[in-house]
């Protein structure tokens, strides 16, 4: 018995993002003593109301508007400097900081300037041997960014699981490998026993791992966002009222879940309250995009590559039968897929596989054969359970792609990888 293999290319596209969050009170840009950026401070200001509106914009960006009602319970005016962590940076299309509707002075500290501030602070300090202030600053910056970023979890929409950033997807894009923060910094004054409304507005442009030629995948692939509540240093007396507004064709998965409020002005609205949870993990995209999950196969001839992707339907992995049409070509006969009213028919050479929607029984050259699960029809496509798909693509494709390569299989196993990032298919023969 031997195991041969095929690697099914990871073909999902995601717009990758990024965790953003609430402002944190800081005492300065650099804590020279402890070699830290944005040293946290405390403030007596309390958040008595917080509204958060998130909206994906064109070009894969999220527009964030966060409005805080700040209350100063003391008898003294309070002036607090805040830093908003912006993973990967942000884009400002309008004044980003308003206090009671008026623009406030602000500073955006990009990663280069943050590094320089650290390096300047480290000048003249006793550093580890052979380490220049510049190198020490780089090391400190990277370490701190990794520390902040490690706290967030991404939502795997297809499986509804939260995973750490490096496990969220099989092939994290470069943007995730270089997790770098920038900051929006400003100072707010609130008179004694008064309230002020602080509004923050900014946009994040997400990254994509790949560019596709297809419109759907290029522009409508899922967009992720993690919003981190800064409850450690800024006391929230009220839950955060969250509203997410999506283009109508899109849908949302979130953790904790938000309620769909219907369609307004051709946009889909979701609302909810963020209480104890310190993170809001979102993923938005077309329903089909949100179902996709990667497949890695292990066991077919190494020269053959089939580009599949599974979709999670009814909690199980399914593959669209249209992928059967990729069998053959280049001198070999081409497989033909015909979608029927009640199922699908795949023909290859002298063989015919007939699938019937909802039936656990298929016909192989007219003879009944069992399936792991009944085929499903969704959005006009006919889907096969991943295990059935793997079996039949081997059965049909073995002849088409691998010639006289032994096609008899003893066992096919399908399992969700422990990281919950993709399914694995194994063939034994």
């Amino acid at each position: 018995m031997r195991t041969a293999g095929i690697l099914i290319a990871w073909s999902l596209t995601f717009a990758y993002l990024t965790a953003q969050g609430d402002p944190t009170p800081i005492s300065g840009i650099v804590d020279r003593e402890n070699r830290r950026l944005m040293p946290a401070a405390s403030t007596p200001l309390r958040v008595v109301q917080h509204r958060l509106t998130l909206r994906p914009e064109f070009n894969n960006s999220w527009r964030i508007e966060s409005s805080y009602r700040l209350h100063n319970p003391t008898d003294q005016p309070v002036q607090t400097r805040f830093a908003v962590p912006l993973e990967g940076g942000a884009f400002y299309a309008e004044p980003p900081v308003l206090l009671d509707g008026r623009a406030v002075e602000w500073l955006h500290l990009n990663r280069f300037h943050a590094w320089r501030a650290l390096a300047q602070a480290l000048q003249g300090m006793q550093l580890a041997s052979n380490l220049s202030p510049q190198s020490a600053a780089l090391e400190t910056y990277e370490k701190q960014c990794a520390e902040w970023a490690s706290q967030r979890r991404f939502l795997n929409a297809a499986l509804n699981t939260l995973t750490p950033p490096y496990k969220a997807f099989k092939s994290p894009p470069s943007g995730w490998r270089n997790i770098e923060y920038e900051w929006l910094i400003f100072t707010v004054s609130v008179p004694a026993r008064s309230e002020r409304t602080l509004t923050l507005r900014y946009q994040f442009v997400t990254e994509r791992a790949q560019t596709y030629t297809d419109a759907e995948e290029l522009w409508l692939a899922p967009v992720h966002l993690v919003y981190v509540r800064a409850t450690e240093r800024l006391a929230f007396d009220a839950p955060t009222q969250v509203r997410v507004i999506l283009p109508r064709p899109w849908t949302l998965r979130s953790h904790p879940p938000l309620q769909a409020r219907g369609v307004r002005n051709d946009e889909r609205v979701y609302e909810g309250a963020l209480r104890a949870a310190q993170q809001l993990a979102l993923v938005a995209g077309t329903p089909r995009d949100l179902r996709k999950i990667g497949v890695v196969g292990d066991a077919l001839p190494p020269t053959s590559v089939v580009d599949w992707e599974a979709e999670v339907l009814n909690g199980a992995p399914y593959v669209a039968t249209e992928w059967f049409a990729s069998i053959g070509g280049a001198g070999a006969p081409r497989a033909q897929l015909r979608l029927l009213r009640d199922g699908a028919e795949i023909k290859y050479a002298n063989h015919t596989l007939r699938l019937v929607d909802g039936s656990r029984r298929a016909l192989w050259n007219g003879n009944p054969v069992p399936l792991t699960a009944p085929p499903l029809r969704v959005d006009g496509r006919v889907y096969l359970h991943l295990r059935d798909f793997a079996f039949w693509i081997w059965q049909l494709g073995g002849e088409a792609l691998w010639g006289d390569y032994p096609r008899r299989i003893e066992q096919i196993t399908v399992r969700l990888h422990p990281d919950k990032t993709h399914y694995e298919v194994n063939w034994k023969r």
């Binding site: 990967g88 990663r111 990254e207 290029l218 990729s326």
Partner: protein, 387 residues
């Protein structure tokens, strides 16, 4: 449909429209796919009495600050909507606009947003080009369908691309010197109605239909200075490896900083605009998502042979009068520069080399190239070991 907002493109590098002139002007915004007109200019009654432009190179960034003294000579208030045009994307690290010392509200359109706004016009113009070549259109459609086939069929796509290449020859479109992929990318954007590449722009430039492009309207076509000769060269970076780094910040795209000001009758006002920009360094993308990492920045900063190009759009035609423009450029002490119009080295100030110039009635933009001293040596000087 004509949107009659009027815009003013203000100074500095503000506005600009190419064919007619240079520094700052008022414009109408139109979105009329029939005429293709996007930002026609409009004359203002206001005067720019003087302008000061300070550019500080802090590789890999350039910090730009410009101050205007504006005057309304009439007896009525003059409200202006200014669109300050910037070649490439700006980095806003501080409030960007102050009027009489007070922060102003503003709206910033990135390069991709500007492009997206004018895309209907560009798309229509591309459609007109396709109408001239029906055979080409058919071949593009077939190749487009093949590229979108599910599952992907590489053989079918290759056949469709071969057929497209034949049609390009047959219709004489191969004279435009565009690769098959560029035609296909342009057709894809056209079909999707979305801006995923700038291929349509490249096609329109190649076929001579470039007047609808924002870069043309704003005189932000890709140009750069040859550091050795000072000659102004046109085009994107070329295929020659030596010239790859010549990609300028004026790579043929503009972003717009919008704001409104009101000039009181017979009064003088101060306007300040400030922003940062990643100076042109041979890497460019329209997409803000393609940010450089800190390591990228450090590599640029530490690489002494790295050159930086910057273009500042100067336009004065739409103002009633335009006074002198005082330019100051600061660069690190180990770098040198060449500018057009020329600036004069006046010594070191606060550790930076300082260059100044006074410009009146500018006919073109301000082009700057900064790099190590070796960058500016001619081959003869280099071979003779001259500094």
């Amino acid at each position: 449909m004509r949107v009659r907002e009027w815009f003013w493109t203000g100074g500095l590098w503000l506005l600009t429209a190419a064919p007619v002139g240079s520094n700052g002007e008022s414009v109408w915004i139109e979105h009329d796919p029939r005429t293709g007109v996007i930002y026609p200019m409009r004359k203002s009654v206001a005067e720019v009495r003087r302008q000061k432009l300070v550019i500080r190179f802090d590789p890999p960034f350039a910090r730009i600050q410009t101050e205007y003294v504006l005057y309304n000579p009439t007896s009525r208030p003059e409200r202006l909507h200014i669109a300050f045009a910037i070649p490439g994307n700006a980095t806003l690290t501080r409030p960007p606009v102050f009027f009489d010392g007070k922060m102003l509200s503003w709206r910033y359109q990135s390069v991709s947003e500007v492009y997206r706004e004018v895309f209907p016009v560009i798309r229509t113009r591309f459609e007109q080009v396709l109408k001239r070549y029906p055979l080409l259109r058919q071949a593009l459609e077939r190749a487009y369908q093949a590229s979108n086939a599910k599952p992907y069929d590489n053989d079918a796509l290759a056949r469709a691309q071969d057929a497209l290449e034949q049609v390009l020859k047959k219709t004489g479109c191969d004279r435009f010197d565009l690769a098959v992929d560029e035609w296909l990318d342009a057709y894809r954007d056209y079909q999707l109605g979305e801006v995923s590449s700038r291929a349509i722009e490249r096609v329109l430039i190649a076929v001579g239909e470039h007047k609808v492009l924002p870069a043309y309207r704003w005189n932000a076509l890709p140009r750069y200075l040859d550091p050795r000769t000072g000659a102004l060269r046109e085009g994107w970076s070329t295929e020659h490896s030596e010239e790859i780094e010549y990609a300028s910040s004026a790579y043929g795209a503009v972003s717009l900083l919008h704001f409104e000001i009101t000039l009181q009758p017979r009064q003088q006002h101060g306007l300040r605009v400030q922003y940062e920009q990643l100076a042109g360094h041979g890497y460019w993308t329209m997409d803000l998502a393609d940010r450089l990492t800190l390591s990228d920045y450090l590599h640029l900063q530490e690489n002494p042979s790295q050159r930086y190009d910057l273009t500042y759009l100067l336009r004065t035609q739409s103002w009633a009068k335009y006074g002198a423009i005082d330019i100051e450029v600061y660069i690190p002490p180990d770098r040198r520069l060449r500018t057009r119009p020329a600036t004069r080295y006046v010594g070191v100030q606060n550790g930076m080399r300082r260059y100044t110039a006074r410009i009146t009635n500018p006919r073109d933009n301000l082009y700057i190239v900064v790099g190590s001293p070796e960058l500016f040596r001619t081959h003869e000087q280099a071979s003779q070991g001259e500094p």
